[in-house]
């Protein structure tokens, strides 16, 4: 009997990517295009997950997992819902000032959980809208309508209002208390927010100085021998990159440092691996090929004494290196999403973890997190799946394989304009 040969890297990636796309294929409400935040019962829709879902439809068409007509139909339903849903300052609306509430009822599309009108999540939704607009370029009725709606939805967003008179963009707004006190200051996943906000032909961010204000809090650090713009969790180094190809283009800060955000994400990935090698808190499993701290699900807040050591665990949290928080939970989706930046390290880690802990990817779809320190018969594994994880996997594998999303957004005039206004130069610009 001949042993089945191990799948090639290409086959492996295809399995992971297709399994991740399955989340959107089956988890979408086809009447309004909304997609659940997680696969758990009763989960509401997340607008950011919808942004990822929209972006994944062109990928599915190109990979022959879905017909173009089907993808266009799904996209159109989604865009029509967002265009026609209620926009006002009432607590049960769907959005306000062109922005949308973070979590919506999967059926009615109304705000749930008293969630905030989210600037970053609207940005990720908008990135998805612009992606389908760039992809569906045929002159038939549905694709024309997709482009028209995308343009109208983008133009309706009042980015300047979201600044609340300040130099940076507010984290969010609630009808109950107005703007939240936090602002989007760098460095984090919000680079794409400033790019899209600066480019708006109708309500742009006040001026280019807001991008300077966003970068004013940057810190260029030498950590574990790597020079990088520091941020702890991996997703920060990935989310804007899912849509924008930062390779070779530089803003003022990166020109000063002789680097770019793509290279920065590569180094951030290396720092993650270095941290796991050091494993300062001596969590189980951490190794050269078992690393990756990011935002994601965890074993729920609890303090346990394990092997004589008091361990504090967290639920959903933004874990990061090297300052923590760290409770031994690995976010494998974020590792896979490192593929464009550090393919060898990312692949080696995913292969190792899947072999070492077979329970974490029985059907190739990756859970939000797993924790070998909190183990019974196997490591603790996050229940169900999270839409953001599946979305970043689909997009980043595709960017690694074909650069499809990057190629699409390079054609988007708004993204080019936004990058230009943020003083990005060089490379594909």
């Amino acid at each position: 009997m001949v042993e089945p040969s191990a799948p090639s890297h290409e086959e492996l990636l295809d399995c992971f990517q297709r399994a991740a796309f399955g989340y959107f294929l089956h988890g979408c409400n086809l009447t309004n295009g909304l997609v659940a935040d997680t696969s758990r019962a009763g989960a509401p829709a997340s607008i950011a997950v919808v942004g990822f879902a929209l972006s994944s439809y062109p990928v599915a068409v190109e990979r022959s997992w879905m017909t173009r007509a089907d993808a266009a139909a799904r996209s159109l339903v989604t865009l029509r819902f967002f265009w026609n849903s209620v926009q006002n300052d009432q607590p049960n609306a769907t959005g306000y000032k062109g922005f949308y509430y973070h979590f919506l009822d999967l059926q009615s599309g109304k705000r749930v959980w008293q969630s905030e009108l989210s600037m970053i999540d609207t940005t990720l939704l908008c990135a998805g809208i612009l992606t389908v607009s760039a992809y569906f370029t045929e002159n038939n009725e549905s694709e024309t309508e997709i482009r028209e709606l995308a343009d109208k939805l983008y133009r309706r967003i009042d980015w300047q209002w979201a600044q609340n008179g300040k130099s940076t963009v507010s984290l969010g707004w609630k009808p109950e208390c107005g703007f939240l006190h936090y602002g989007w200051e760098g460095y984090n996943e919000a680079a794409i927010l400033y790019v899209l906000g600066l480019a708006s032909p109708t309500h742009p961010l006040s001026d280019e100085s807001c991008y300077t204000a966003w970068t004013a809090t940057y810190q260029w650090e030498n950590i574990y021998g790597y020079d990088l713009l520091y941020a702890g969790p991996l997703f920060i180094h990935q989310f804007s990159h899912a849509w924008i190809d930062f390779k070779g283009i530089q803003d003022r800060f990166m020109r000063e440092k002789g680097s770019d955000y793509f290279e920065n994400s590569r180094r951030a990935t290396c720092v993650q691996r270095e941290y796991a090698l050091r494993n300062p808190h001596e969590f189980k499993g951490y190794a050269e090929n078992c690393w990756g701290l990011s935002a994601g699900d965890g074993p729920s807040p609890q303090t346990l004494r394990l092997d004589g050591v008091e361990r504090r665990f967290f639920g959903y949290a933004a874990r990061g290196v090297p300052y923590g928080p760290d409770d031994g939970t690995i976010a494998l989706p974020a590792v896979l999403a490192s593929l464009p930046f550090a393919p060898e390290a990312a692949l080696a880690a995913v292969i190792h973890c899947r072999e070492r802990y077979p329970g974490i990817a029985t059907d190739w779809r990756l859970p939000s997190g797993f924790n070998p320190t909190l183990a019974k018969s196997g490591p603790w594994i996050s229940e169900g799946y999270f839409g953001l994880d599946q979305g970043i996997i689909v997009l980043m594998i595709e960017n690694y394989r074909s650069q499809l999303v990057w190629k699409l957004t390079r054609q988007c005039p708004f993204i080019r304009t936004g990058l230009d206004r943020a003083a990005f130069r060089g490379g594909w610009l």
Binding site: E176, A216, Q219, W220, N222, I223, E310, Y323, G324
Partner: protein, 507 residues
Amino acid sequence: MQEQSLPQMSPGDEDNRTSLENAHPSFWRNPQPMDNYSLAIVGGGPAGLLTAHMAATLGAKVALVERNLLGGQCFNVGCIPSKAIIRTSRLYAEMRTAENFGAQVPSGITVDFQRAMARMRQVRARISRRRCSVQRLSSMGVDVYFGEARFAGPRTVIVDGKTLRFRKALIATGARPKLPSIPGLAEAGFLTNENVFNLTECPRRLLVIGGGPLGCELAQALCRLGSRVAIAQSDPMFLGKEERDAAQILSDALARDGIEVHLNTQVTGVRVEGKQKFVDLITDDNKRTVAVDEILVGIGSVPNVEDMNLQAAGVKYDSEAGIPIDDFLQTTNPRIYAAGDVCSEHKFPHIEAAAARIVVRNALFCGRKRLSTLAIPWCTYTDPEIAHVGLYVREARAKGIAVKTFTVLMHDVDRAISDAEEEGFVKIHVKEGTDKILGATVVASHAGEMINEISLAMGSGIGLRALARVNQPYPTQADAIKMAADAYNRTRLTPALKWLFKQWLAW
């Protein structure tokens, strides 16, 4: 002449009586003023005391006026008492986590709060003998006056009915706790740093309002001494001026100690029911109420500028910002200087000490020493401690200076691993492309000690490169600084240089 009431310290035990007898003795009679003092000092806190000490040592005729206790907030209700109870609280924390140090957790750990406070008073009394003694000051030739000081002109101050004429003066009246205007708070009663050290029983449940150095230090210390503590901070992070990573580590450390952390939270009201105080909190749109036994307010301080008739002296002041001074510490009356909390943004006693040295030089010896030329560190004595010197990255970048930070994690430092004190980092900021140190932040168990090496380097104009050449015993936690310097040196090893070395060594 108005009769002054003598200050009190509670409880009235032997140690507090000793502190009082040193810092404001009941038998003290104000001296007859000299004709014209070289230097009149208003305020007997760290700045006033040190200035008086130095000026008298150099032969100046010095008068010092204090209305309460010599030593000011620092020695009596600030740095010294807080450090004493922090030490006890740290010991209790270490006992509870003895397993981390390879030891057995002692059975039945019971906090003896009264013993901890008694030790604090003992420490305070002992230090007051040396640092705040009126007799000692008087024996050095300083005329010490107790009473309210009121300026009568640009060169005259009146105290206890006596007129003191001076050639130069120093105002170092310090600051007092800032009080929030929260409905019901005054009626419910609350603690500040001025009376928290009078406690003889640990509050069972405590809410700390304010996440600055004082609030964080005392929240952690009292939690470790047995109180169930919640802390409410209006900003999104603790220690608003410190860098984000330091504040985050502190936030995690407080939570790990069991403190209920409420960031980005406003206190909207307090009401009393029975013996409990119910405090309403709001975070964005999330409202909640916490029930506590005591409330400690630590939201900052306001300068003591009132009732001195500063207008008569030609000294401008603001009741919020204090007395404006120039870089030479001169007020709007160039004969009158100001130092310490009454005029400084950074309210730390060692900054007062640095200012005192400048005052003596500038006021008595026509010096032109500038405050801005000093590299002055500060430290928040939580566990881990958070120390800083020089510029923060955001400040340097705002000045248009390109900055690079060399970061060493304490978990990479051998001694820190041995000591089970791995939490924290050393970050040294240099001007990009050079080794000029712009500033540094240290988060470590003993950050207050470690920052000194960097302060010395900055004050002496020594670059980061040179710190790699410092020989020091191994292992120490301060190795982290040398490791940062080593990291800097490695970045100088360009590919071309590496190639050259290779060629040389091959030959």
